[in-house]
């Protein structure tokens, strides 16, 4: 038989059982639509999270003093020497590395802040102008720490929104003086409310120049150094360069720990991919159900058409031709259902995007292919049994029926 004839014959047969065919079509398209929508949303969520991470600065490298390993075989352990501290000098030296775009030394501590008898204790962060860009912070008013030599201590500060609110209320804060510890200090800016950074609530925080903080807390050591690399691709090289430089500066001692956000990001990426696959798998079950429905439709239609199948054999259809006819009917159902479902899924994805504009709900190409492929495959698999049953029908018996 010619393919076109097989198709048109199958089409006519499906059209004859219109209600049954339509219901199966519906089931199939819902299954495919579910796969398309759920993978689309899952993939969109993954991209959203990855995007959010990137905006936080995926090129971020954090240097902590001390090695993360508890025991090192180095001689210093025997001599009882504590690891060398990170210093502003280290931070300045790092800036000269070609892979480093920006660096910000950080000193952290807690101190009292007071104005006109109002006093409270706040976390104080000593750093440089670069932090603004590295941590993607924004200002609500005034300006951030001025650029310049980080060793130079200036009595200026930038307040978190809540701190400003508590000390100044409705009055403007920029330009006024406050007291931090024993030192008078001029407010030059107010941070916008931004959530957390470095594990601190930016709303409750006070930012001062790093040298001022060292004086305030009477320490030379840095809490950590933040580095923004020039590109994600170069992060490994950056890590090596940083390590080499600091080891040299610390007299051959590897006494720092380097953390990148890449590892965190990779974990999230894996979790979301897994999630998308799981959801797709669950949606896939509905495809299997649709497949069983197709099998049911084919079985019913065959039992109603036994004499017709006998007749087809009598006028020259081989068993394989009968199988081909039945399977084509099922594939036609599955294929049309799959395409309908794809359309439905894409429309639903658009709706999701209308409701959550941040989320891209476009299904990944593999999901579209997989959904259509599964639809056709279930059509094929679940029609093989009915088709073979039809082919095995004894033409003599089936023709004996009216």
């Amino acid at each position: 038989m010619r393919t076109a004839d097989i198709l048109s014959f199958a089409w006519i047969s499906l059209a004859a059982g219109r209600v049954r065919s339509l219901l199966t079509l519906l089931a199939m398209s819902i299954g495919v639509a579910a796969v398309v929508v759920l993978t689309g949303v899952g993939e969109g969520a993954r991209q959203y999270v990855v995007g959010q991470f990137s905006s936080l600065g995926t090129n971020l490298v954090i240097i902590l003093p001390g090695r993360s390993e508890t025991s090192s075989g180095s001689p210093s352990t025997f001599i009882g020497e504590t690891p060398r501290d990170l210093t502003i000098g280290d931070a300045v030296a790092l800036q000269r590395l070609p892979t480093v775009k920006l660096q910000a030394p950080v000193v952290a501590g807690e101190s009292g802040i007071a104005r006109k008898g109002l006093e409270r204790r706040v976390p104080v962060l000593g750093t440089t102008a670069s932090l603004l860009s590295i941590r993607h912070l924004h200002l609500a008013a005034g300006r951030f720490l001025p650029p310049g030599d980080p060793r130079q201590s200036r009595a200026v500060c930038v307040l978190g929104v809540k701190v400003r609110q508590e000390l100044f209320g409705a009055q403007p804060a920029v330009g006024r003086l406050v007291r931090i510890g024993e030192h008078r200090c001029r407010v030059i800016g107010v941070l916008a409310s931004e959530g957390r950074s470095l594990g601190l609530d930016t709303q409750e925080m006070v930012v001062v120049p790093v040298a001022f903080a060292q004086m305030l807390f009477d320490t030379e050591k840095l809490f950590r150094i933040l580095i923004e690399g020039r590109g994600r691709a170069e992060l490994d090289r950056l890590k090596q360069q940083v390590l080499a430089l600091l080891t040299r500066r610390h007299h051959g001692e590897r006494d720092v720990t380097i953390i990148t956000q890449d590892s965190v990001l990779a974990t999230f990426d894996r979790i979301f991919s897994m999630l998308t696959l799981t959801v797709a798998g669950i949606a896939g079950i509905s495809l299997a159900v649709a497949g069983i429905l197709i099998m049911n439709v084919m079985l019913v239609s065959i039992s109603r058409r036994t004499s017709e199948i006998g007749l087809l054999k009598a006028v020259g259809a081989s068993n394989s031709a009968v199988v081909r006819l039945i399977v084509t009917e099922a594939l036609l159902l599955a294929g049309v259902g799959g395409l309908l479902g794809l359309g439905l899924g894409l429309i639903a994805g658009r709706l999701v995007e209308q409701i959550y504009p941040d989320l891209s709900a476009a299904p990944p190409l593999w999901a579209v292919g997989a959904a259509l492929g599964t639809a056709l495959l279930t059509g094929l698999l679940f029609s093989l049994l009915p088709a073979r049953r039809a082919a095995r029908l004894d033409p003599v018996l089936s023709l004996a029926k009216r």
């Binding site: 038989m1 010619r2 004839d5 014959f9 006519i12 047969s13 059209a15 004859a16 004499s307 017709e308 006998g310 007749l311 087809l312 054999k313 009598a314 006028v315 020259g316 259809a317 081989s318 068993n319 394989s320 031709a321 033409p395 003599v396 023709l399 009216r402």
Partner: protein, 222 residues
């Protein structure tokens, strides 16, 4: 045309063997007109199904047009059913979804003949059979006689050499029954070998050669 040698067909029904055909020897020459009669269960329909390659003998040999067709596989026998054998049934067996033309063209469709050629052949036969007016009607819109005409057209559209009719008038009133048997006889006049299975003595006695069956054996052949 047809040679059957010691053909047996044994069914097992509920563990019991039933000899539907019991050592049948039969020769049919090309262009013959044969009626097969006998009570129901005597084996005449079984013979017709064997001759039409819808069934296989349990033992014995079947030669069709000089070649042994006893052990052919499904594909080969389907091909012979398509090209050399035409079937006419008591209950017409038209496909209800298809129009008269589409039903008539079915064997051509199965043979993979392109639409234009199909239309050419079917148009000729439809005109011959006086079905032109009704060619686009569905079977349910046709009278019994018209349905059987469509079925006969379908049986002969591939120009077979053997036409097997199982009670072709059994479901028709006597007038259209006569009509149909005359049509079949006309086809036989043109050289088609015609074998008719029937209960109806009046129809059966029209054939030049009459075979009577009883309990799976040929009891009379004249």
């Amino acid at each position: 045309m047809i040679i059957l040698e010691e053909v047996n067909r044994i069914f097992s029904v509920g563990g019991q063997e039933v000899r539907a055909l019991d050592g049948i020897n039969l020769q049919v020459k090309p262009g013959e007109y044969i009626s097969i009669m006998g009570p129901s269960g005597s084996g005449k329909s079984t013979l017709l199904n064997l001759l039409g390659l819808l069934d296989r003998p349990t033992s014995g040999r079947y030669l069709l047009s000089g070649s042994d067709v006893t052990g052919l596989d499904d594909k080969q026998s389907a091909r012979i059913r398509n090209k050399t054998i035409g079937f006419v049934f008591q209950f017409f067996h038209l496909i209800p979804r298809l129009s008269a033309v589409q039903n008539i063209e079915l064997p051509l469709l199965l043979a993979g003949i392109p639409p234009r050629k199909r239309r050419e052949k079917s148009t000729a036969i439809i005109n011959d059979f006086g079905l032109f007016e009704r060619r686009h009607h569905k079977p349910e819109e046709l009278s019994g006689g018209q349905r059987q005409r469509v079925a006969i057209a379908r049986a002969v559209i591939n120009s077979p050499s053997l036409l097997l009719a199982d009670e072709p008038t059994g479901n028709l009133d006597s007038k259209s029954g006569l009509d149909i048997i005359t049509l079949l006889e006309a086809l036989n006049q043109q050289g088609l070998t015609l074998i008719v299975v029937t209960h109806d003595l009046e129809i059966g006695s029209r054939a030049r050669r009459r075979i009577h069956f009883l309990d799976g054996r040929i009891v009379a052949d004249s």
